[in-house]
């Protein structure tokens, strides 16, 4: 197969797309090193916003809340979502199809509706069970909106899997749970990992739902940034965004390298199997 050469027009188009995607981030990173608070006048290079960032208790504590709630909710949602996906997969189609559609509703629903309804539910339950909005409700809200994404990314992997594999494992003496861990899990692992990463990034991104469910004691980074808009967003936010961007980029690079290695491995195995008589 001959590789198709991209036309000059196509290349310009691609460059433009990447420019639109990355130019704002580039500007953000550049201005995190600007020595004045201005977002338009360059006044000199400095690291001071980074040192100030690590002394700013409110940004750091909101960053801590964001990371903690994202990691916990991603872990729990991945666990629950994977189990739910396996459950759906083993159901009769008549049942699983409508249930999966219901699962999709929160994904398509506007965040604000999810946020307000969760908030009202928590406030109502709270007056009954005597609890206030806080980290607990924030975490439950995040798990709630993360679960559908995990299910959506695990389901296709289950459907791609050869169903007879499980039967074969059980025929060979595995109990169902052994078969799940030894056969199903490795098969759907890429879906689980993807689901966890999507859930994590959704959590870090979220503003609206957190805003309605966090209560008076905790605040996520997104909420903190939003509340600065009357005065002016401090360059410390550029600094923390730059660091977050770098972390996410490194994470993605690692995931990509792992994936391409695994693909190459799989390819080699396939070739080997084909070449053997």
């Amino acid at each position: 197969m001959k590789k198709r050469q991209a036309s000059p027009l196509g290349r310009i188009f691609m460059i433009l797309v990447y420019l639109f995607l990355y130019a704002p981030i580039f500007v953000l990173i550049v201005f995190s090193f600007n020595s004045s608070k201005s977002r338009s006048v360059w006044t000199g290079f400095t690291f001071k916003w980074y040192t100030e960032l690590f002394q700013d208790s409110s940004i750091l504590s909101s960053l801590g809340t964001t990371l903690l709630v994202s990691v916990l909710s991603a872990l729990i949602a991945t666990l629950v979502g994977t189990i739910a996906a396996v459950g759906f997969f083993n159901m009769k189609k008549r049942w699983s199809t409508p249930l999966l559609s219901v699962n999709n509703i929160p994904v398509m629903n506007a965040d604000i509706v999810t946020g307000v309804s969760l908030c009202l539910a928590f406030v109502a339950a709270g007056s009954f069970l005597k609890f206030k909005l806080g980290f607990g409700t924030l975490l439950i809200a995040h798990i709630t909106f993360n679960i559908p994404y995990v299910i959506l990314s695990v389901m296709p992997k289950l459907q791609q899997m050869d169903k007879h594999l499980v039967d074969a494992a059980q025929d060979l003496g595995c109990t169902w749970s052994q078969a799940f861990v030894k056969v199903i899990m490795p098969e759907i692992m890429p879906g689980i990992v993807n689901g966890a990463i999507i859930a994590f990034t959704m959590s870090v991104d979220d503003f609206v739902i957190s805003y309605f469910t966090a209560g008076s004691k905790v605040q996520t980074l997104a909420m903190n940034i939003y509340s600065m808009t009357r005065k002016r967003i401090s360059p410390k936010i550029n600094a923390v965004s730059t660091l977050l961007f770098l972390v996410v980029m490194i994470l993605l690079i690692i995931v990509n390298i792992r994936e391409s290695r695994q693909n190459a491995e799989a390819e080699r195995k396939k070739l080997k199997a084909a070449s053997e008589p």
Partner: protein, 349 residues
């Protein structure tokens, strides 16, 4: 593998349980403070904790209206909030504030009497002033050569395309009302419509309706005329020395942000201790140095303005005669608020 899963399950259960437990238990030694973003020196929390042993939980909002809706929704408990004047009068009228026990706030005596018992809290039982300031006219001396004393340059076609305006109805209408010589709290529909007509005319020569982008547009010289808060001018002039500030002779808006305790606060005494701490001259000074807004304490204000450059002094400490022309926003009746909303929608569309 099974063990790992079991472990993960157990860990996540513990996390969920402890998280829920954490939000349920209400230890006595804390105070929940809800303030504007970037409106305090956060280092003072440590001092407060050292002095009193009370831990500060701090969170922030970006507008009075957000604060109001969060309080109305319920489900969360705040002990100290710092709304602006007109929002305080609204909260008082809706019985959403707790009376402050001034026996626990001895430092209240340090507050300048000029900011006590203002129109928004006539009995002075509900609020302790935090900072105050004026809305003034900021302009670029390189572009505007004339001697500016009035709001008139905001409406001068000579500067078409260089003028910025507040992107919120109350402040924008407030400027138009003042320019016409009316009170900013007027409920007279004819006056409001006249101000609205002025804003409609102005729209054609405006560059944009903005809020915090004013900083960047004025500093970079993209725009030459804009109204904004006096405290923020101090920040802008550092980056662009050609910027000038004037408090127009017609008068303007005088705002006071004050500390209040919302109804149902769980740590009322801690809240009073915090409010008392904030009135302390050194603490008020530390806050004002970070935020740029003038402190409400007499002594703190004196030191704060002495530290300023001579030409910046009148910005923060305006002439008493001009100050007398300024209005403090009070809460408007619902029908006037509705009129504001509908006029604003007409203007922006």
């Amino acid at each position: 593998m099974k063990k790992i899963i079991a472990l993960l399950l157990a860990l996540s259960m513990i996390a969920v349980l402890s998280a829920c437990g954490g939000s349920k238990t209400e230890s006595k030694g804390e105070v929940n403070v809800y303030n504007w973003g970037e409106y305090i020196d956060e280092d003072i929390f440590d001092d407060f904790e050292k002095q009193t042993g009370i831990k500060v939980n701090y969170s922030t909002y970006e507008s009075n209206e957000t604060l109001y809706s969060i309080l109305k929704t319920g489900g969360s408990s705040y002990d100290v909030i710092i709304p602006s004047d007109y929002m305080i009068s609204r909260l008082i009228s809706e019985d959403m504030l707790e009376k402050i026990n001034f026996d626990n706030v001895p430092n209240f005596s340090l507050i300048d009497p000029a900011y006590k018992n203002l129109e928004y809290d006539p009995s002075g039982e509900y609020s302790v002033p935090y900072t105050w300031g004026t809305v003034g006219l900021i302009y670029n001396g390189d572009v505007v050569q004339e001697d500016v004393t009035s709001w008139s340059i905001m409406f001068d076609p000579q500067y078409a395309g260089q003028i910025l305006m507040f992107d919120n109805s109350r402040d924008a209408m407030g400027i138009a009302l003042k320019y016409l010589g009316y009170n900013q709290n007027t409920t007279d529909e004819a006056q409001l419509r006249e101000a609205f007509d002025l804003l409609v005319q102005q729209k054609s020569i405006l560059q944009a309706y903005v809020m915090d982008q004013i900083f960047d547009k004025m500093e970079s010289g993209e725009a030459a005329i804009a109204p904004y808060y006096a405290g923020d001018y101090l920040v802008m002039v550092e980056n662009n020395p050609s910027l000038k500030y004037v408090l127009p002779e017609e008068g303007s808006n005088l705002f006071v942000d004050a500390m209040c305790i919302p109804k149902g606060a769980e740590n009322k005494e801690n809240a009073e201790a915090f409010i008392n701490f904030m009135c302390d001259t050194d603490i008020a000074l530390a806050n004002s140095e970070v935020t740029g807004y003038a402190p409400a304490g007499t002594e703190a204000m004196k030191i704060f303005s002495e530290d300023l450059d001579e030409d910046l002094y009148p910005v923060i400490n305006p002439d008493k005669d001009v100050l007398a022309n300024c209005d403090v926003f009070t809460n408007l009746p619902q029908e006037t608020l509705d009129l504001y909303d509908s006029l604003w929608v007409d203007l922006k569309s």
